[in-house]
C-alpha cells in the first residue's frame, strides 16, 4: 500500500518536472526581450537581493511604459524572470541554468555576491549567455570569460583608494582593520587595504577579524583600542557596521572610522545614527551631486518603493541600463552581437558614474568618497582609477 503511494508521488513529481520543462522550452519568441534576474532573495543577505529585484522591476516598468526597448526598427517589451538563489552557490548555478534552459533569456542580471556570481558566471559563459553582476567585486568573476560583465569596480581598486585616503587625507600613520574573515568581499578589501597602506609607509597595528553573524565585537575592539590606531577601517556590510561603530565608541575608541562601498545604504544611517558622524567611505556614486540621470532614478525609486535606493539598487539599475543600451546599439537580440557591443561601451553614463569597457568584463570607473554629515551622505572627493 505504502509503496504504491510513494511511487504515485514520484510519478506525479516527474510528470510535473517534465511539464515545467516543456512549457519553459516551448515559448521562444521575438515578442519580448527576456531578461533573467538571479538575486539573493533569501539567505544571509536578503536586502541585497531585494534591492536588486526592485531596481530591475523599476527599470522594466520604465522601459515598458515607453512601449518597450528599441531594437532595430521595433519596440520590444522587456520581460523579467526573477529567481531566488538563496545566497547559495549551487542554487545560484541552478537558477542561472534554469533561466537559460527553461526561460531562454537573453541575459542574466546578478547574482551579486561573488560566491554566487562565480558559479553562475561559469554556467552563463558555457552557454554563451550574457551575465552582468551588479555588485560582485571579486576579480575572478569575470576573469578569462567572454560573456561575463560587472557594473562595479573591483576589490583591489577600492582597497587602494581607501589606503591612499587614510594616508594622505587623514594623515594616518597607524591603522586598524576589523573584517569578516568568512566573507570573501570583506576579507579581500581588508587585505588589499593592508597591503597598500603599508606600501605607502603606514603601519597596520591591528588586523582583527570575526565571523559572519557575530554581533559582539567587543573582544576585537578592545584589542584594537589597546593598539591605539589613528584610523579604523571597517570594510563590512551596513547591517554590521553600526553595531561595530557603536561598540567601538562604547569602548571609548575615538579614532576616525572609514569604510567601503558596502556601507552605501540608507539603512546605515538609520541604524548607525550619530555614532557614524564624520566617517568616510568609498562608493560608486554620490546622491547629492548626482547627475540628472541619477536624480531621476533616485526620485523614481523613492516614489515606487518609499525609500532611497542603496548602492546595490543603483548598480543593478546600471547593469540593466548597460545591457538595454547595448541591445539597442547592436540593434539585435543576438547574444554575441550584444556581447560585442557591450565590451566596447565607452563613457557610458549610468547612475553610478561613467563606465568604459576595454574589451573585458570589468568597467573602468571612478570611485567617490562620501562623508556622513548631519545624518546624510555628503560628497567628499572623487578618485580616478
Amino acid at each position: 500500500m505504502l509503496q504504491r503511494g510513494i511511487w504515485q508521488v514520484v510519478r506525479v513529481l516527474s510528470c510535473l518536472a517534465l511539464i515545467v520543462g516543456a512549457v519553459g522550452c516551448g515559448a521562444k519568441s521575438e515578442q519580448e526581450v527576456r531578461l533573467g534576474v538571479n538575486a539573493e532573495l533569501t539567505g544571509s543577505k536578503p536586502t541585497v537581493g531585494d534591492s536588486c529585484k526592485k531596481a530591475m522591476e523599476l527599470l522594466a516598468e520604465q522601459i515598458n511604459q515607453q512601449g518597450g526597448l528599441k531594437v532595430g526598427e521595433r519596440q520590444i517589451p522587456l520581460k523579467l524572470f526573477i529567481e531566488d538563489n538563496e545566497d547559495k552557490a549551487e542554487s545560484a548555478a541552478a537558477a542561472a541554468q534554469k533561466l537559460i534552459s527553461q526561460n531562454n533569456v537573453l541575459a542574466v542580471i546578478g547574482p551579486n555576491a561573488s560566491g554566487n556570481a562565480i558559479p553562475a558566471a561559469r554556467i552563463c559563459e558555457d552557454s554563451g549567455v550574457i551575465m552582468i553582476s551588479p555588485w560582485s567585486t571579486n576579480p575572478k568573476t569575470t576573469e578569462g570569460k567572454k560573456y561575463i560583465f560587472r557594473a562595479c569596480f573591483i576589490d583591489d581598486f577600492q582597497g587602494q583608494v581607501m589606503a591612499k585616503f587614510a594616508r594622505q587625507h587623514l594623515k594616518a600613520d597607524t591603522a586598524a582593520v576589523l573584517y569578516d574573515v568568512a566573507s570573501e568581499y570583506n576579507k579581500g578589501i581588508a587585505e588589499f587595504f593592508k597591503q597598500f597602506f603599508e606600501a605607502d609607509g603606514g603601519k597596520v597595528v591591528a588586523f582583527a577579524s570575526y565571523t559572519t553573524g557575530d554581533k559582539d565585537f567587543s573582544s576585537q575592539l578592545t584589542t584594537i583600542k589597546a593598539a591605539a590606531p589613528q584610523v579604523l577601517f571597517l570594510p563590512n556590510y551596513y547591517n554590521e557596521v553600526p553595531l561595530q561603530v557603536k561598540q567601538a565608541r562604547n569602548q571609548g575608541l575615538s579614532c576616525a572610522i572609514i569604510g567601503s562601498d558596502s556601507w552605501g545604504s540608507q539603512e546605515l544611517l538609520t541604524l548607525g545614527g550619530a555614532d557614524l558622524e564624520g566617517s568616510f567611505f568609498s562608493t560608486h556614486y554620490a546622491p547629492d551631486i548626482a547627475t540628472p540621470k541619477a536624480q531621476e532614478f533616485i526620485k523614481a525609486y523613492e516614489a515606487k518603493y518609499g525609500k532611497k535606493p542603496d548602492d546595490v539598487a543603483a548598480l543593478t539599475y546600471d547593469a540593466g541600463l548597460l545591457l538595454c543600451n547595448a541591445i539597442t546599439q547592436a540593434g539585435s537580440l543576438d547574444r554575441t552581437k550584444v556581447r560585442d557591443t557591450l565590451a566596447q561601451v565607452r563613457e557610458f553614463e549610468g547612475v553610478t558614474g561613467k563606465m568604459t569597457f576595454k574589451g573585458g568584463g570589468d568597467p573602468v570607473k571612478s570611485a567617490v568618497i562620501l562623508q556622513v554629515q548631519n545624518g546624510q551622505f555628503k560628497y567628499f572627493a572623487s578618485v580616478q582609477p
Binding site: 509503496q3 547559495k88 541552478a94 534552459s101 575572478k140 568568512a182
Partner: protein, 333 residues
C-alpha cells in the same frame, strides 16, 4: 505467513538484474543529455539530486542505521571537495583531467574518511546530543580552517576545476554508494551497526566490537560524503567554505529524516523529493522557504518516521535463498 513470504521472494531481484538495471541507468544517463532530449537545467537538477542521494545515503548510515545524531556532515563533504579539486587543478596535469577524475574523487573520499576518525574516536565515549555537538564542532572547525588557508582562496573560494562531473559519473557514484551500503548493511557488519542503534550496551554484550564498527560507519559515511563533495566541486567548478556550513548539514538532515531513517530507498526518495520539490517551488520566490518548511512539519506530523522509516523496498534486500543457500528452507516450518 507462507503466502506473504512467497510474495516477497518474487519481488526480490538477483545479481543479474542489478547489473542490467545499473547498465541501463548509466546508458540512460549518457543518452538523454547526449541526444538533447534533456536540457541543461534538468541535467543540473538531476545531478543535484544524485549528489544529494549520495549524501543522504551516507548520512543515513550514521544517523539512521547506527542511530547517532550527526549534524556536521557538510564538514566531510568539504574535505572531499577541496582535496579532489586541488588534485585535479594543482597536482595532476590538466590534460589528464577526465582520466584521473575518479582517482581524485576516491582520494577526496579517503581524505574525508580520515577526517571521519576525528568524529569516530570521541563517539566511543560521547553519545547522543553530546556527540551531535562534536560533529557540529567538527563542521565549524573545517569551515574555519578553510577560511584561513589562503592557498585555497580562503573565503573567496577555490576554482579552476574543469567541468568533469556529468550525469553518467553522478549516476555511477549513486549506484556505487547504493551497492556498497546495501552490501554492508546486509552483512554481519551492518547488523552490528544496527545493533548499536537498537541497544549499544547489549550489542557490546553479544560480542559486537562497537568501537571498530563506529570507526567503519563514520569513515564509510565520510568517504561517500567526500566523493559527493568532489562531484559537487567539479559540477559547480567553484567551491567556497560557506557552501559547507551548518546550513548544508541541516539540509542533509532534513533529507534523511524526510525519506526515513534506516532505509536506503527512503534516502533516495527523501533526497529526490526534497531537491525536486524545492526546484518546483521556485516560482514562489521568497515564499518557497515559508511553504517548504511548513510541508516538512506537516509531513513529520503525519509520518513521524519519514516516508519509509525502517522499511526497505524488496529489491534492495538480499533474497532468502541468497542468505541461506537452502532455497526455500527459511519459509518452511
Amino acid at each position: 505467513m507462507k503466502k506473504s513470504n512467497q510474495a516477497s521472494e518474487r519481488g526480490r531481484l538477483g545479481g543479474w538484474y542489478w547489473t542490467l538495471g545499473s547498465l541501463a541507468l548509466l546508458a540512460l544517463a549518457w543518452l538523454l543529455p547526449a541526444s538533447g532530449i534533456m536540457n541543461l537545467y534538468l541535467q543540473q537538477v538531476l545531478m543535484y539530486v544524485g549528489i544529494n542521494i549520495i549524501l543522504t545515503l551516507s548520512l543515513n548510515l550514521v544517523n539512521g542505521y547506527m542511530g547517532e545524531f550527526s549534524v556536521g556532515h557538510a564538514g566531510f563533504m568539504a574535505v572531499g571537495a577541496y582535496v579532489a579539486a586541488i588534485l585535479t587543478v594543482a597536482v595532476f596535469p590538466r590534460a589528464w583531467g577526465p582520466v584521473v577524475f575518479p582517482l581524485a574523487l576516491i582520494m577526496g573520499g579517503l581524505a574525508a574518511a580520515l577526517a571521519g576518525l576525528v568524529v569516530a574516536f570521541p563517539s566511543f565515549r560521547t553519545r547522543g546530543d553530546y556527540l551531535a555537538i562534536v560533529t557540529l564542532a567538527f563542521n565549524m572547525i573545517v569551515k574555519s580552517i578553510l577560511e584561513n588557508i589562503n592557498a585555497v582562496g580562503g573565503p573567496r573560494g577555490y576554482m579552476g576545476m574543469s567541468k568533469l562531473s556529468n550525469l553518467v559519473w553522478v549516476v555511477f557514484w549513486v549506484l556505487v554508494t547504493l551497492l556498497v551500503l546495501r552490501n554492508v548493511i546486509y552483512s554481519n557488519l551492518g547488523r552490528g551497526i544496527i545493533a548499536i542503534r537498537e541497544d549499544e550496551l547489549a550489542a557490546n554484550l553479544v560480542s559486537v566490537n562497537t568501537p571498530r564498527l563506529k570507526i567503519y560507519a563514520f569513515c564509510l559515511s565520510a568517504f561517500f560524503a567526500g566523493v559527493a563533495g568532489g562531484l559537487y566541486a567539479h559540477l559547480l567548478q567553484f567551491i567556497n567554505p560557506r557552501s559547507f556550513s551548518i546550513l548544508k548539514s541541516t539540509d542533509m538532515l532534513v533529507m534523511v529524516y524526510l525519506g526515513g531513517i534506516g532505509s536506503l530507498a527512503g534516502s533516495i526518495l527523501g533526497a529526490s523529493l526534497y531537491t525536486i520539490l524545492m526546484e518546483l517551488l521556485r516560482p514562489l520566490e521568497l515564499w518557497r522557504w515559508v511553504v517548504g518548511p511548513l510541508l516538512l512539519v506537516l509531513l513529520m506530523i503525519f509520518r513521524p518516521t519519514g516516508i519509509m522509516g525502517l522499511k526497505e523496498v524488496r529489491w534492495l534486500q538480499p533474497t532468502a535463498s541468497e542468505e541461506t543457500g537452502w532455497g526455500k528452507v527459511a519459509r518452511r516450518s
